[in-house]
Subunit: 271 residues, 3 copies
Amino acid sequence: MDIKKNVMTALEELRKKNPLVHNITNYVTVNDCANAILAIGASPIMADDINEVADITSISSAVVINIGTLNKNTISSILEAGKKANELGIPVVFDPVGAGASTLRNDTTTEIIEKIKLSIIRGNLSEISFIAGLEVSTKGVDSSEADSKNDAVSIAKSVAKKLNCVVAITGEVDIITDGETLIKIKNGHKMLSMVTGTGCMSTALAGSFAGATSDYLTAAVAGILSMGISGEISFENYGKVGTGSFHIAIIDALSNLNPEIIRDRALLEIS
Amino acid sequence: MDIKKNVMTALEELRKKNPLVHNITNYVTVNDCANAILAIGASPIMADDINEVADITSISSAVVINIGTLNKNTISSILEAGKKANELGIPVVFDPVGAGASTLRNDTTTEIIEKIKLSIIRGNLSEISFIAGLEVSTKGVDSSEADSKNDAVSIAKSVAKKLNCVVAITGEVDIITDGETLIKIKNGHKMLSMVTGTGCMSTALAGSFAGATSDYLTAAVAGILSMGISGEISFENYGKVGTGSFHIAIIDALSNLNPEIIRDRALLEIS
Amino acid sequence: MDIKKNVMTALEELRKKNPLVHNITNYVTVNDCANAILAIGASPIMADDINEVADITSISSAVVINIGTLNKNTISSILEAGKKANELGIPVVFDPVGAGASTLRNDTTTEIIEKIKLSIIRGNLSEISFIAGLEVSTKGVDSSEADSKNDAVSIAKSVAKKLNCVVAITGEVDIITDGETLIKIKNGHKMLSMVTGTGCMSTALAGSFAGATSDYLTAAVAGILSMGISGEISFENYGKVGTGSFHIAIIDALSNLNPEIIRDRALLEIS
């Protein structure tokens, strides 16, 4: 598999299809997520009321769920949107923001995993580790690797196998796997952690790609790689100016991203 | 009527009066709306709890209603604010974001139109077309033009007559009418559609002008024209840089807008 | 007391400790608050559901409460977070946005003051004046100065004594007092009032410092001074460009702030 080529093709597909991405997300980074989705070439719609989520999901090409400012009213909306998406074969991308930090987030994460067939989960190591530790009864394969949680790769693989979905753990090196193939991304810059929402945007970008290709491993890699490369370009141009300008320049770089930039910059390892 | 002159005067009035604009809006673009309102010279206040909307409307010069992330709790707040505004003669400006896309948005749009006397409605062609298709019993004149929905101009005119308010359909050419006079604006740039919230900001700007002048046709034109001109200026300076910088430069241009810039750049047609 | 030295030390402490700051805040300026908290060197977490606020407060070093878009669901969350913070000795910083403007905000402000032991209150003159006028039964010292509300200094001092906390009234000259010591800050720029959220960010910054030092007078001064100096630097570089660029450059300046800049620029008076 030539993953770099796949990502380049996925970007072209995304820009041709301009998929509508339904986001149920947090109110902190929602504007950045909408602008990142537009910058990459998709269209965002945010809707979280129980009385309309099914309608909105029905007209969308992907659903992105982010529990960054989880609210009890939204939980039933998430489940409803997920149910509708599963019925219609629309991919669901999940960002378990803060899983592990409160009972509400833990319980909601557990419920989402049990009730919704997810296509991609993206989180940091502690969030995905929380999921790896869950004793959930799912439709996925129960992996013996669930016990060997000694490193990010085996955690990601075990969750991917157990839930039969693509799992991404982002960090200094990003790890993305469908349980078999493993991709490592060495792009990005540590300044990305100085701006709120870069993780949420990565997930929203993965959702944008998932709305344009049914190869969800490629979609997850493409979303996270797009953010990593954009962070690098932004840092080169504005890293010295400050985190405000760096933040804006990430969106600039996303809007200028093209297959050639991916070809020249992507630092991908496949195994 | 010299509409360009009217807009120039309205901007001077707005900056003199610094009207308070009460927004019940969505959480995606709310920060941009607040900053656009400040940039043009008005003052924003956001409040959507049923227990305070009447209080906040009472101290405001205009109310802006935007259903971009509609929530069942907010619907009663919208109706309460609208009722209070109508009682006090405060203009209500409505942005029916996504009308047509879900039953909740459709029903809410219908209820708003039936229960609130609106001063200005601004939307895209599909949103205003949805309103044109409604069989609502309103206090306005029922127009025979409601049947000739073959183009944006007749749709806008029919809604304006039916609801006795100013209607704006924004697009490549913006159409604004009070049912009689028709104004076309040829300003703006297609890159505006690459940033979330430029429509919401146009509505918020129309609301800002409506807080400073009781000539709501001028207010609507002024709000939409301000965004169009600012988009052009921003594109000239930052269009090549990316959508992030373009976004910020729109606010810059709004804050620098003055009657001379309007005189030199406004592309208005009146008929 | 060498307040300038204290602020310089507090900034170093903050960057060493990277405190987690729990925000229950409004949806207008929340992204800016999160990025300001990151820029100064702390970590933001936003959580407002009643089912998780106690959990989140428990892992945080400070709680910031802002009633800018107050919502009846959030009131109980505020009280719960405040109760937990008081139990654990975690400082609570309060921004009574719009106190005086609606019954809901007035009643909530009163309830917060009666039920939560606050460490810092930051507001503008009218907000703090509203609090000064309350006949609340609190644990603090009831000051005879409560009657001499003829100027900002005596209002701030009376509230500080009555509630036994640090009170900051921001304006052209910022006034910060613990009821005894009075600090005036002459930094800042009037363009800060042209961007939404600069007050909210000041409060969030005060909360960030309060998460790193138990000297809350210094924390309040440090937070407000950081915003004032950053506003000046931003104005020098981008004031002529417009309010959009000025807004972003405030975050840039916060992220570049260091003890030397504070030493060279701080205009502090102590009495």
